[in-house]
């Protein structure tokens, strides 16, 4: 079973993340980049699928030059090879355009399942896996907290608001996984050194049969019109319990329409 894991590089959530006031895209210079946190679970799941069913794990990343650091980390964890879609024209591409590029890049690979994290910590849209499955017209098994593969059949436990549902599809399929599906491994020292010699194929737009007009900020279907920094947190309200504490809390929650 050949697995492709979609890995995005994002600004570290522990840093002071910013949008560029000029073009309203993520300011990638402001904060050190890291692998999107949830994608580490996707990598781990990909590696486990390979360990159970054989085949290869390929990392697929669309991103700027520095994304090589995230690719190296994914290879250090045990993936076999990587495809890096790198093109200046991609700057500012939205979710739909990114899904389009990913679909084309998957077309250059032999794969049975593509595994992604359920969302990226920068944009938090959580739509790319679904868009990708839609564009490719393949099974869409998203928000998985458990994945089981039996031949060409893939079954996942899909997390819903109230619990989970069991969804089954056949390969090729696009999966997205939630954190807690597994416990991502640490890259071992051996893995780190071995990653140096693993192949990373760099593809530009033309290699994928795409044009500059297919991607980029100017051609995006969605637009960030304006943004504001979140207002600083207000000082909390302290309720002194003089016997009416429970009533005051209930009133507070009711006023917010939470109960």
């Amino acid at each position: 079973m050949n697995v492709v894991v979609l890995v995005k590089q994002v600004p570290d959530t522990e840093g002071n993340r910013k949008l560029d006031p000029g073009d309203h895209t993520v300011d990638r210079a402001a904060v050190d980049p890291v692998i999107n946190y949830i994608d580490e679970f996707a990598i781990e799941e990909g590696l486990r699928l390979k360990e159970a069913h054989g085949g290869e794990v390929t990392i697929l990343t669309v991103g700027p030059e520095r994304a090589t650091e995230s690719i190296r980390k994914a290879l250090s964890m045990g993936a076999d090879k990587a495809v890096h879609v790198l093109d200046d024209a991609l700057h500012g591409s939205d979710a739909l355009q990114t899904a389009h590029v990913l679909a084309k890049a998957l077309g250059t690979l032999e794969w049975d399942v593509a595994v992604a994290g359920s969302e990226a910590t920068d944009s938090r849209m959580a739509v790319v896996p679904a868009l990708l499955a839609g564009l490719l017209d393949v099974a869409q098994l998203t928000q998985a907290r458990k994945v089981t593969v039996d031949g060409s059949s893939v079954t996942v436990e899909r997390v819903t608001e109230g619990g989970y549902e069991v969804v089954e599809g056949s390969t090729p399929a696009v999966l997205s996984v939630v954190e807690k599906i597994n416990d991502p491994r640490y890259p071992s020292f051996k893995g780190i050194m071995a990653a140096k010699s693993k192949p990373v194929t760099v593809l530009g737009l033309s290699d994928l049969g795409l044009d500059q007009s297919d991607v980029g900020l100017a051609n995006a279907a969605s637009e960030v019109v304006s943004f504001e920094n979140a207002p600083p947190r207000q000082a909390g309200q302290i309720v002194k319990d003089d016997g009416s504490g429970a009533v005051q809390i209930a009133d507070f929650l009711a006023a917010k329409k939470l109960i």
Binding site: K73, S76, Y186, P187, F189, K190, G191
Partner: protein, 390 residues
């Protein structure tokens, strides 16, 4: 905390790390934050350590004997080993001791002085952390002067009969194999003594105020019969164990910079939020002077460790240079931890903050693997040409 770490790198030393080294450093730092830091306070307070379980986890990371080559070892550079020691010791010197004793003392001796059979049997298992080793040189009455050791091995046919005892042996009572140095009629020789060998016993040392998250033991040998194949064939004389100690000291030089960094980062965070007289204590000039002096001293330690790594990787390192590193870095780390402790005031004496724990641990590091005084005399001898300790 990661913000404090960035601020402490005044000379941008981090910028020079290559991509593999950075990933290695970040991986060990994350492992330490996830797996070690949440438990260290309890281990230290309880005076215990799940050392065998941790050995397996360190083995999976690939850091046990990482700077050795072949037999399941990774052939890392000395500088990479130094990075790992710093991240582990940033949590606790006891944990770094576990890693150094396994890799630089026990495994190094087997790699450098062992027979092919000994290497095949032990090194892959020890690199994986499934087998744990210790290194027994010190005795109750022979510390700085190991040549005064009384433990002895005498021939009996092809076998050896080992008698005596060792003191302060890290990992001793949990080890599968002890590298034991004993006098023979052929000078000092090393022997591999397996746990369970009749006549061999180990007893844990308790009541420590330092290195509490580390197992220290006394080893006893009462007519222990060993086959000829238990002797390390290629190490003869005190030079052999001293060679291993040089290896381990390199890890200390880099490691203690981690402990100092952690204490200083902790104090920097604390001083920014603690207010007295209506202002953060970080705003007082006396506090800022402490930070300036400590941060400069820390970077000097890191530069020393880096230079020794370069010399070691170039195969040019000399014993007095290792002494330079241990002499300079351990005392500086101890000084930084004590000064950082003062910034935390009363909170600084608790185990809630790592600062005094680091300082307490460093009291051991100051003494083991050649005391501070002995390294002073090595430098004195190098400078003057006169040996003062013999």
């Amino acid at each position: 905390m990661s913000d404090a770490l960035d601020r402490l790198d005044l000379l941008d030393l981090d910028d020079d790390l290559g991509p593999e080294d950075r990933l290695l450093r970040d991986t060990v730092r994350k492992f330490a934050d996830d797996r070690l830091r949440p438990n260290i306070r309890r281990w230290f307070e309880d005076g215990t350590l799940p050392a065998r379980d941790l050995a397996v986890e360190f083995g999976e990371l690939g850091v046990l004997g990482m700077h050795l080559s072949g037999y399941g070892c990774q052939g890392a550079t000395a500088s990479q080993y130094g990075l790992v020691c710093a991240e582990v010791e940033a949590v606790d010197s006891g944990l770094r001791s576990l890693v150094s004793v396994q890799g630089s003392l026990a495994m190094f001796c087997i790699r450098a002085y062992g027979s092919e059979e000994q290497k095949q049997r032990w090194l892959p298992e020890m690199a994986a952390g499934r087998a744990v080793g210790c290194f027994g040189l010190t005795e109750a009455d022979a510390g700085s002067d190991p040549a005064a050791m009384r433990t002895s091995a005498r021939r009996d046919g092809d076998d050896w009969i080992l008698n005596g005892s060792k003191m302060w042996i890290t990992n001793g009572s949990i080890s599968d194999v002890a590298v034991v140095w004993a006098r023979t009629d052929d000078g000092i020789r090393g022997f591999l003594v397996e746990a369970g060998t009749p006549g061999y016993s180990a007893q844990e040392v308790h009541h420590k105020l330092s290195l509490r998250a580390s197992i220290s033991s006394a080893l006893f040998f009462d007519d222990v019969r060993l086959p000829a194949s238990a002797m390390l064939p290629d190490g003869r004389g005190l030079r052999a164990p001293l060679g291993a100690l040089s290896e381990a000291r390199f890890g200390i030089v880099a490691g203690v910079a981690g402990a100092a960094r952690d204490a200083l980062a902790s104090a920097l965070d604390y001083a920014g939020t603690r207010t007295q007289f209506g202002r953060p204590i970080a705003s007082f000039q006396l506090t800022q002077r402490k930070f300036a002096e400590m941060a400069v001293a820390l970077q000097q330690m890191q530069l020393t460790a880096r230079r020794l790594g370069e010399l070691k990787d170039a195969g040019r390192i000399k014993p007095h240079q290792i002494s330079f590193g241990k002499f300079a870095n351990v005392s500086t780390a101890l000084h930084i931890c004590r000064e950082a402790r003062s910034i935390l005031g009363g909170s600084g004496i608790t185990t809630e903050y790592p600062v005094l724990r680091h300082a307490l641990n460093l009291e051991t590091v100051y003494t083991y693997e050649g005391t501070h005084e002995v390294h002073t005399l090595v430098l004195g001898s190098q400078l003057t040409g006169i040996d003062a300790f013999r």
